[in-house]
Assembly symmetry: C2
Homo-oligomer: 501 residues x 2
């Protein structure tokens, strides 16, 4: 009996890992698509990705897997780890099973087409080039929501893909909170003495930006033997195994803020991926919990650490050395303040920690409307511009700095954006805990010592894979479920210091 | 009835193209493995490639494909193109079917392991690091030969994979010819006034080498919208579709010959891949004929064109402009002679057009012996060194410049090397024909005009895919089967001019 369970479990692992091999292969193709692929390669790449998606889906929805999961789920000879894997795989299986192979291939093909249309539209700075492809994508995602099934709102079915259990009913109050609690903070900051960050907008040569980012990533603990950094249009992190994690970045020579914190952000994602247990390759316990928790890792590093005074106490002298002409006359204090300058702006990825959440809230409301059918692709730019004006008091001059700025919708990633805000909130709560758990954390950071912090993250978050769901993990780490007051207090404290408000 | 054939043919194309998607995906993973992959990613990549190989093999040996091929092969409603595809696919099917999925996955896994061992061994300059992995690979290849079946020599079964119909019985006389006909030419050259090529061994900065190679590739007609060039340890060309063809190169800053002609060589391969008919994606008529013909394209460009006087009439002034310090005082005539300097040397890829074939002949004899079991992996370095001394009068000082120099065995590519020599012979025969078919070909080349030549190659070779087998293709182009006397005459004429012998 025990022997039989072992055999079944091994057979289950083989199937899961075969599917993972195919999905990771897709990730390699997707990475190349955004980093190195020549333009004419797009069509063939689209069909290749679509075929791989179909092949993986076939394995993950196979009768063989179902049979194994059902037998294993009533076995009494499994370890805790094995039981967790089986339980989570069974949940995934039931979800996967709701999509037909044909639908999965169609979605994958549309994703490639839509991504290429987005690239083209950005090049031409013209949303109308993207609109037809996006409309088809929206249609597919609405269909997907129906296939998954939902109780209240079609968007719920998609949100659940990125953050298990997240729903409109849960997120509406979160974003209502943003609309209520952040404007007073923002108003106070607006009336205070403004911070100068004009020195970021000088010429910072590409190669030097690159070299400095590599040094920062190394210090953070990113293992370059198990990963690398490349250029892409839109920064992202992807993984082909815990032992091969790829970061990408973009460089604007005339705006250093475009790259600097984006590298630290992606570095946070990458450390999570590198910290997943290798021996759980392809299994739930070798996979990240959710995008919200993933984003908590990137934002922890980008904001709580990478925009902190202590971090720059250590790194700023090195940065000045790299860019003596540009930064020689800028004090650490001025640099720190500039790094945390708050001002409504058009580009989400370059927004400060306060206004950022308006960017997300706008996307959240738009996605909700696209998914319940009250907004169509063609009316998107108008709605976008209207909301930016309403909440941030500014309007994009063109599509590139407006509705075309994010890659997500071209990937069909509806329901992804809210995890950015959840991530910030988790990050603030984890950071509060880390400061209590790690003696002299601030001093470590100020000395460029991140080993203990990384170890803490490895122990508390990374090594568990999907063993605990987001809220449960949060409770295990901090003793509390997600509590947005940590973020509000973090913001209040930080900006009180910087703006004196 | 006709309708039914159309449906069957479409179903056949779907299956073939699905397998092609997976195989091209493997090619992307293989490319990344040699170009960008961080070292710790190797194990996961190995298993991913192995799974993909298994998935493709499954499709290509499926009952469904067999059924379709059998029905289509007796259909009378197919076009010529469709019939060719079906006939060739049926031949391939019968061959593929001889290998079990488990064997294919094992071979693929061993290939990744063996490749990594080779990289490691090269780094350590120590064959013994590579030997155990190579021994396993040899064992697998001998097993593969048995599975394929052969009439006379186990090596025949492997040769056939790269050059359909090639056997030891066919190749023994070719290589015997090399041992007979080339030494007299070589001896004459040895007694003549030697050519100086010492200027190649100055410092040529990497980026400038790179930039010049890009210009040459562009002129040749390589479409950078449908391909790119990257760095790797060992130069190669790979394709993910006719619309996405990747070249790699290596650079030695202290030896410009290491890169210059290797780029032109890979460019020749790449032009062939880019010239395959797009609408035959994944089908035999969208695939190259054989490695011998593939190599005819690379050698045509590298040697017949790229080491010709006319080619450098056009390019040399530009090269001098790039490297005024290094080449300012070197005349075109001296450069041309140096580009064709004949001297026994250790590294195959850097060998001249005469001694090159000794390098191949040595590998051919060694592979034969490895495959019939008369030589073992551990005795390989001794045999290698002995043969180099016997035929070229030199001995490698270490493994890196000896038995570890080629990537092929680590890939399990036994039977591949002979296609290099076949390629040179085909190239000489095609070149002779091109000079007759294209008015003023020499003048075109001397003006940096390659359009007409590329068009000729497209029409004569590229666009046919596998429609004609190697020998048949050769006969259609030149009116004759492969005739080695073209190569001998080409060599004699060239070196008479250069060495006055």
């Amino acid at each position: 009996m025990e022997n039989n369970s072992k055999q079944l479990y091994t057979a289950y692992c083989d199937l899961m890992q075969k599917a993972a091999d195919i999905n990771y292969a897709s990730a390699v193709l997707g990475w190349d698509q955004e980093v190195y692929m020549p333009p004419k390669g797009a069509d063939a790449r689209g069909r290749q990705l679509s075929t791989l998606a179909g092949q993986a889906h076939e394995v993950l929805t196979s009768d063989k897997l179902e049979q194994l999961l059902k037998e294993l789920s009533i076995s009494e000879d499994l370890t805790d780890t094995e039981m967790s894997n089986v339980r989570l795989s069974l949940e995934d299986f039931e979800k996967n099973k709701k999509l037909s192979p044909a639908f999965v291939e169609e979605l994958s093909k549309q994703t490639s087409e839509c991504f290429n249309a987005w690239i083209e539209a950005r090049k031409k700075n013209d949303f109308s080039v993207f609109a037809p492809s996006l409309a088809k994508m929206i249609e597919l995602k609405r269909k997907q929501a129906v296939l998954y099934g939902y109780e209240v709102h079609p968007y719920d079915a998609l949100l659940d893909e990125y953050e298990k259990g997240a729903t409109v009913a849960m997120l509406d109050p979160v974003f209502a909170g943003i609309r209520e609690q952040l404007p007073p903070i923002l108003d106070k900051i607006k009336t205070a003495k403004q911070v100068d960050n004009s020195f970021f907008h000088q010429n910072f040569p590409k190669q030097k930006q690159w070299d400095f980012s590599i040094e920062v990533l190394k210090k953070m603990g990113f293992d370059f033997e198990a990963g690398r950094q490349d250029y892409s249009e839109h920064p992202f992190t992807t993984s082909f195994a815990a032992t091969d994690v790829r970061i990408t970045t973009r460089v604007d020579e005339d705006n250093y803020t475009s790259m600097l914190w984006s590298c630290i952000h992606e570095g946070g994602h990458a450390l999570y991926e590198q910290g997943l247990p290798e021996d759980q390759y392809g299994l739930p316990l070798g996979s990240p919990v959710s995008l919200g928790i993933h984003e908590s890792q990137s934002r922890f590093w980008e904001n709580c650490i990478g925009r902190g005074f202590d971090f720059w106490k250590f790194f700023y002298p090195q940065l000045q050395k790299q860019f003596p002409e540009q930064l020689g006359n800028v004090t650490l204090d001025a640099f720190y303040k500039a790094a945390n300058r708050v001002a409504p702006s058009l580009i989400r990825t370059e927004a400060d920690e306060v206004t950022y959440h308006f960017h997300v809230m706008i996307r959240y409301e738009i996605e909700k409307a696209l998914m319940d059918g009250s907004l169509s692709a063609q009316d998107l730019p108008a709605r976008w511009n209207e909301m930016y004006y309403k909440y941030l008091g500014i309007k994009p001059a063109d599509d590139k700095t407006g509705v075309l700025q994010d890659v997500h919708w071209s990937h069909g990633s509806f329901g992804y954006f809210p995890t950015y805000t959840l991530g910030s909130f988790y990050a603030a709560q984890f950071f509060n805990q880390a400061q209590q758990d790690i003696k002299d954390l601030n001093a470590h950071v100020a000395n460029g010592e991140f080993k203990e912090l990384l170890l803490w993250l490895r122990e508390k978050v990374h090594k568990h894979g999907r063993r605990y769901a987001s809220e449960e993990l949060c409770e295990r780490i901090t003793g509390k479920k997600l509590d947005t007051s940590f973020f509000i207090r973090y913001i209040q404290a930080k900006y009180k210091e910087i703006y004196g408000v």
